[in-house]
Symmetry: C2
Subunit: 392 residues, 2 copies
């Protein structure tokens, strides 16, 4: 049986190279750029008025004469005819400066008789109220670097450069296979000895928070042949998540089924609670997690192991960590790392009640997982502990 | 012209009641419960073995004799025949205890000849290794309270209670209308005087991060009739976001169009930079935001005003705030609140370069918006400022 650190290292050492795909910009938010983006244009693409006002040539104006207003250029239009030295052009925010002009005076800073303007702006200087061509981004310059996280503002920025698709690190394809003869779908009638299947719901919900839809979800009986059949169908996925049947009991068929599917075992059992029976293996590039069947074990292993695996693919950091003092005492035996459902309070973190691995009522209240070191036994209020923040 | 606080108050005072809808549990993650959920069952629904082992009656066992193994109950099965006092039943994790038994001894703690077992567990006590019926949640008890945020663990918890749909606060329906004669879709060829349309991309991306898809996106010319037509089609949405044309220039038709569509103006212009021309109004229950056309103004107003409006509908808090010392000096004129693109550093926050409202390169690097008070002029390194964290 290996420790938590070693298990995490084995998983990351066995992750295949990240995959890259081209996606429409409209779908790119939340992903990470797999290559730098070069600007195809100067932005702004031309000298642009920043105001509603009048454009004119600053140096050819004598600083006192009126200027004759000779034309008008709203945003989206152009004037190809040059504005002459003693002239000004009516111009609006976003419009290109007509040839011969380099400066804009705000409409509030002139007096006008309808035909000419008199400039009342003492502070006016050459180039004022003009957004120079390329002043944000120059053509062929790197607009965003490789590994940049595409926020809404990044998407808006790229759209403004005329870019409508980008190369991102692909999210992994993920299959979920839940096993157990005792499982019944929620909403159906339950007969004696059965329980409601919840693990596919918890996993699919956790994936939805990462904007990933599982490519496949199947519920199978505790039957080796059925489990083998389900696994074989999913070996093209990047990640396969199985739940249940991963211990060594007489009805635990997942590990033998995985062996028969030629999934190479990389570890089985980790010194942790919950989730001790965790299995991890690989078939070609498919990463296979055999998660224990208890719902709290499933989600704990998801947050502790699977999420970092997904980060390896997408290059996005999903989980923030912190180091906080405990709000209460806790004792455990040494030998296993404990992951406890916790709740952050101002400046400290509380270990919730109901930590047993079948108890989801506490997990539903938790916003973090608290890690208690394998070798330690007694934890006191004020002791600093590492937490993983699971609230989004 | 009103201040930022007042503008925010007017918006919240005018939000209609939140709407409630029933959704399948599979789609409920990330929403907030609009009513308490009562458990339809005891969970676990029966006394359940927590281990692979043997179940027996603790009090009827003489603490020394062997027990005859008379049957077997894997998870998902039941044994209706009672186990007798001198007998034990082979049992597996998750299986219901057969009648007549109340305690489970782990398989590792017995010696067996195949027909009977001898218990080697000094610590065994009545009820050990048994998850009692209802020990997590009792039938008809409140499982989750109204206003509970549905995390993945909450969804897993509810599925385990057999619940397959829940009532949540509905996200608002949102329409986006971008205006501007100068706009061309990214990916198309741009002619002189035109720029690429980016605001619908930025807004749709920001909404996608909240798991909201706009019901409608339209790009219209600076033409009053076209704008009126577009607005009238969208007045059934909860929120309408317009961009551009909201100043008082000769080609700004949005405010007059809104008036003709009988959108009741609640404010127009806010003492802020960027986003000074911001318009807010209401038509029946539809909330209408006239956002300025510059991309940085659009997203700033989205994060400062629209996001809190969406929170009013969904009851979910999207944006975290903080109060951090500045990493650099900054000066502005008094009279306007400034919202600046910022980047969080360890223990402080940096005001980025390129704050002009057409500059999206800096916004693409920002992870927060820094608020600089309307009345203040000079800000120094170390001065504490309020920020809104916009990275997800």
């Amino acid at each position: 049986m290996i420790g938590v650190r070693e298990a995490k290292k084995i998983i990351l050492d066995n992750c295949p190279s990240a995959k890259i795909e081209q996606v429409p910009l409209k779908k790119a938010c939340g992903y990470v750029l797999a290559e730098p983006v070069y600007s195809p244009i100067d932005a702004p693409p031309f000298d642009q008025s920043a105001m509603d006002g009048y454009s004119f040539s600053f140096e050819q104006w004598d600083k006192k004469s009126e200027l004759f207003v000779t034309g008008e250029v709203p945003a989206g239009n152009i004037l190809t005819e040059a504005t002459k030295p003693n002239q000004a052009t009516r111009i609006f925010t976003g419009a290109p400066l007509p040839p011969g002009t380099d400066t804009v005076v705000m409409q509030e800073m002139v007096s006008t008789n309808g035909q000419s303007i008199s400039i009342k702006d003492d502070q006016i200087s050459k180039g004022m109220n003009v957004r120079k061509q390329g002043s944000q981004t120059k053509k062929n310059e790197i607009a965003l670097t490789k590994n940049h996280f595409l926020s809404p503002a990044s998407v808006s920025f790229l759209a403004g450069l005329g870019i409508n698709s980008v190369k991102i690190y692909s999210p992994p394809t993920i299959s979920i296979i839940v096993t157990g003869k005792e499982l019944v779908n929620p909403g159906q009638k339950i007969s004696e000895g059965k329980i409601f299947e919840s693990n596919s719901f918890g996993l699919a919900a956790a994936l939805a928070m990462l904007n990933i839809t599982p490519v496949y979800i199947e519920m199978v009986d505790d039957d080796e042949m059925q489990i083998i059949k389900a696994i074989n169908k999913q070996l093209n996925s990047d990640i396969i998540l199985l739940t249940g049947g991963v211990s060594v009991g007489d009805y635990d068929f997942v590990t033998t089924a995985l062996e028969k599917c030629e999934v190479n075992k990389l570890f089985h059992k980790v010194k942790q609670k919950p989730g001790k029976p965790l299995f991890f293996g690989k078939h070609n590039n498919a990463l296979v997690f055999g998660l224990p069947g208890n719902p709290a074990s499933v989600l704990t292993c998801f947050y502790e192991y699977v999420m970092d695996t997904i980060s390896h693919f997408t290059k996005r950091e999903y989980i923030k960590t912190a180091n906080l003092p405990l709000a209460n005492n806790y004792s455990k035996k040494s030998g296993l790392t404990h992951f406890l459902k916790g709740k952050m309070l101002p400046g400290e973190v509380l270990i919730l009640n109901n930590q047993e691995s079948y108890m989801m009522n506490s997990f539903a209240q938790a916003d973090c997982l608290i890690e208690l070191e394998e070798s330690e036994e007694h934890f006191h209020k004020g002791d600093k502990v590492n937490i993983r923040i699971i609230s989004c």
